[in-house]
């Protein structure tokens, strides 16, 4: 059995937990992400496992001369298997709950409905992971939750009201989320390979199988791990393996865009403005937390309010031509203001555009406080995935600071984890020396 030494950085964010795996040369070979809404240990375990799955795919890729699109479909099929495994657990948990004392009056009927629901969820899952299909979210909770609610609405009636179904789901999902899936690649890759090969016959099937086997058999040896982020204090790591998220974001942004001098990170519950020097060393920073106004959660709240997915928010706001000025500073009041404005007949996209600008305006203050916006400027964190937020930022930067190169990346949500991994690599080097 071969083994491979890896270095890991974990960013325990308030909303999502991210992991980055580096090889000994410092190349990124795996990333993982999960929602943080569970026990921090478990989140860290899950995300590490996720990143390892991805790492093994990288190994497959490396073992294979011409992989083409096959890795993508292999990954998708593996995700499906993971999803189905979780779904099975969810169904089990729900049927346990349905048999509990709370539902004594309608246990049989409830179980029947849940059975129908489960079958339909499974069917939908398969189609969501079919070739070419798109998914609303990367997380089981969101996908399963969305499907469940949608199906339950149709199934609910007087006998089994919607609220009852929802309460069963809400209770069940919490338990399911707290259990890690171990060795997912090892256990599911064969099935996934089977599915992939059945989707389209491949000329390189034998080679692929060999590469997969090799990847599966490789032992991943953790040389060094560093944790960071909001929940870092709760990681079961010794102190020297924990770094402030500020430093990690600074270093991570520097690694992704070496000319970065200013970093803005907008996460779920905090916003950070960081200045770094030419070595990625933080020279000053400002941070906002404890209030959801102006953070990613603000957008999440608004999305819920409008019954939209997070990723739909930005594109809709981009359709606006006449932006509305939003007055509320509090997220909840912004929700109320939104309703009020909608009832006055203002357009959704215009209000949304105003909301995005409001968030970015808050970030601009923080940036100003941290020392302004210097060239180059890197925007990271989950909100950087939102095109309207990026647009609002570009506008405001241009209006107030003039020309600046603004970097964003699809992987920007991993910036903190990448920084942590780089710190881990330094520690490993020091240990070796």
């Amino acid at each position: 059995m071969t083994s491979m030494e890896v270095i890991i950085g974990i960013d325990l964010g308030s909303t999502t937990t991210k992991a980055v795996v580096l090889d000994i040369e410092g190349n990124v070979i795996g990333r993982g992400i999960t929602n943080s809404r569970s026990n921090y240990d478990v989140a860290a375990q899950i995300v590490r496992e996720e990143a390892f799955v991805r790492t093994r795919f990288t190994l497959v890729e490396r073992n294979l001369q011409a992989a083409g699109g096959v890795i993508g479909s292999l990954e998708r099929n593996l995700k499906l298997e993971q999803h189905l495994e979780l779904l099975a657990r969810l169904r089990q948990a729900m049927s346990m709950l349905a048999g509990g004392p709370k539902h004594r009056g309608h246990a049989g009927e409830l179980a029947a409905r849940l059975g129908v629901l489960g079958d339909e969820m499974e069917r939908r899952a398969r189609s969501q992971f079919a070739p070419g299909a798109t998914r609303r979210s990367d997380f089981f909770r969101d996908l399963a939750g969305g499907d469940f609610m949608h199906i339950a609405e149709g199934l609910a009636d007087k006998a089994i009201p919607f609220d009852v179904l929802c309460s069963v789901f809400d209770a069940a999902i919490l338990g399911v989320e707290c259990l890690p899936i171990e060795r997912a690649f090892e256990r599911h890759i064969n099935t996934a390979l089977q599915s992939t090969l059945s989707e389209e016959p491949l000329g390189i099937a034998a080679e692929l199988r060999k590469a997969v086997d090799a990847a599966r058999a490789t032992e991943l040896v953790e040389l060094s791990t560093v944790g960071t982020g909001y929940g870092r204090a709760r990681l079961p790591f010794p102190k020297e393996q924990i770094r402030s998220e500020i430093l990690c974001h600074g270093l991570g942004a520097h690694a992704m865009f070496p000319d970065t001098r200013t970093v803005l990170d907008i996460g779920g519950q905090d916003t950070k403005a960081i200045q770094v020097d030419s070595d990625g060393i933080v020279t000053s920073f400002q941070m906002n937390d404890r209030c959801a106004a102006g953070c990613g959660r603000y957008l999440g709240y608004i999305a819920d309010e409008m019954n939209l997915g997070l990723h739909e928010l930005g594109p809709l706001a981009m359709e606006s031509h006449t932006r509305v000025k939003i007055n509320s500073t509090c997220t909840v009041f912004a929700g109320a203001e939104l309703r009020e404005r909608l009832s006055l007949g203002q357009k959704r996209e215009d209000i949304l555009a105003g909301l995005h600008r409001a968030i970015i305006l808050r970030a601009m203050s923080l940036l100003a406080r941290s020392g302004g916006i210097n060239d180059q400027f890197t925007f990271t964190g989950g909100v950087a995935r939102n095109p309207a937020a990026v647009q609002a930022l570009r506008d405001l930067v241009r209006e107030n600071y003039g020309q600046r190169s603004i970097n964003t990346s699809a992987d920007s949500i991993y910036t903190g984890a990448l920084g942590a991994a780089l710190f881990a690599r330094r520690a490993a080097e020091r240990k070796a020396a």
């Binding site: 026990n39 919490l174 209030c291 959660r297 997220t331």
Partner: protein, 273 residues
């Protein structure tokens, strides 16, 4: 003498409450949740449904008074502000009350009044929705329980868990953390209730409230909150006792209808004179 019929409508941020009062006694009381519907429509429907419930028509009502966001009601006769009406409603329902605490979806309002419901001093929360009804609603959603369950569950708590974040939005993360740490639902709710109670007591103290305090508005239905307030009053050794009434969620609308009757009298006397 024929009946004097007046109506009160309390247009809130989460629901519309309509009450019809005949000679000082409520005949019909109803709540309509707004739930992303067109507010004007909800208002009209609620009013007409309330009238239908008493076999009445709009023309039978001598005075329709609104409160809350009642400016939206074009067919009203007069408007009274929230604290005026809640004080009146509170005194009507709980005559011994000398202060009222109206807790709605977004704000809490404290008022101190005399036995004739004259408002002596008052204050409301602003700028931050922490500790409001919306906050509890969010928590309930993430705990997977219904609003009606909150109060009774909270009352069964044995080891309330303190909450650190009081942001109505971020509470969710806190709550989920607690759930995953194995904290029981009732203890979580109780912890939240205690922290809310602390804020409300501070609000009440800031206006110099003493004696009987009536809780009105949506959260008056939450027995856990009242319980938590009693406990904190005990601990802080305050000279207050808390009362609720099943009809207290309508206090604003009742108050408006009663003030409407008063104004009607004043105005008709003026006409006579």
């Amino acid at each position: 003498m024929s009946e004097l019929l007046t109506a009160g409508m309390d247009v809130g941020s989460s629901s519309v409450k309509t009450v019809i009062v005949a000679n000082g006694t409520p005949l019909v009381m109803r709540t309509d949740r707004i739930r992303r519907r067109d507010l004007r429509k909800v208002i009209e429907e609620s009013y007409d449904a309330a009238l239908a419930g008493a076999d009445l028509e709009r023309k039978d009502i001598a005075y329709l008074a609104t409160t809350g966001e009642g400016e939206l009601v074009e067919f009203r006769r007069g408007h009274f502000y929230g604290m005026t009406t809640h004080a009146r409603g509170a005194i009507f329902l709980m005559p011994e009350a000398r202060a009222a605490l109206d807790i709605g979806a977004l704000h809490a309002r404290a008022m101190k009044m005399d036995e004739r419901s004259k408002v002596l001093s008052y204050r409301m929360t602003s700028q931050c929705a922490s500790g409001s009804g919306q906050f509890l609603e969010n928590v309930a959603r993430y705990l997977g329980i219904t609003l009606e369950d909150i109060g009774p569950l909270s009352c069964t708590a044995s080891a309330p868990e303190g909450v650190s974040s009081i942001c109505a939005v971020l509470a969710e993360t806190d709550v989920i953390n607690m759930v995953s740490r194995g904290i029981k639902t009732n203890d979580i709710l109780k912890g939240i209730h205690l922290s809310m109670a602390g804020r409300y007591l501070k609000l009440l103290r800031s206006i110099g409230a003493e004696g009987t305090v009536a809780i009105t508005g949506g959260l008056s239905a939450d027995v856990g909150l009242a319980q938590a307030m009693r406990e904190r009053i005990e601990i802080e050794k305050l000279d207050m006792n808390v009362l609720t009434d099943p009809r207290a969620i309508y206090a604003g609308a009742i108050g408006a209808a009663l003030w409407g009757a008063f104004r009607h009298d004043v105005l008709s006397r003026r006409n006579v004179a």
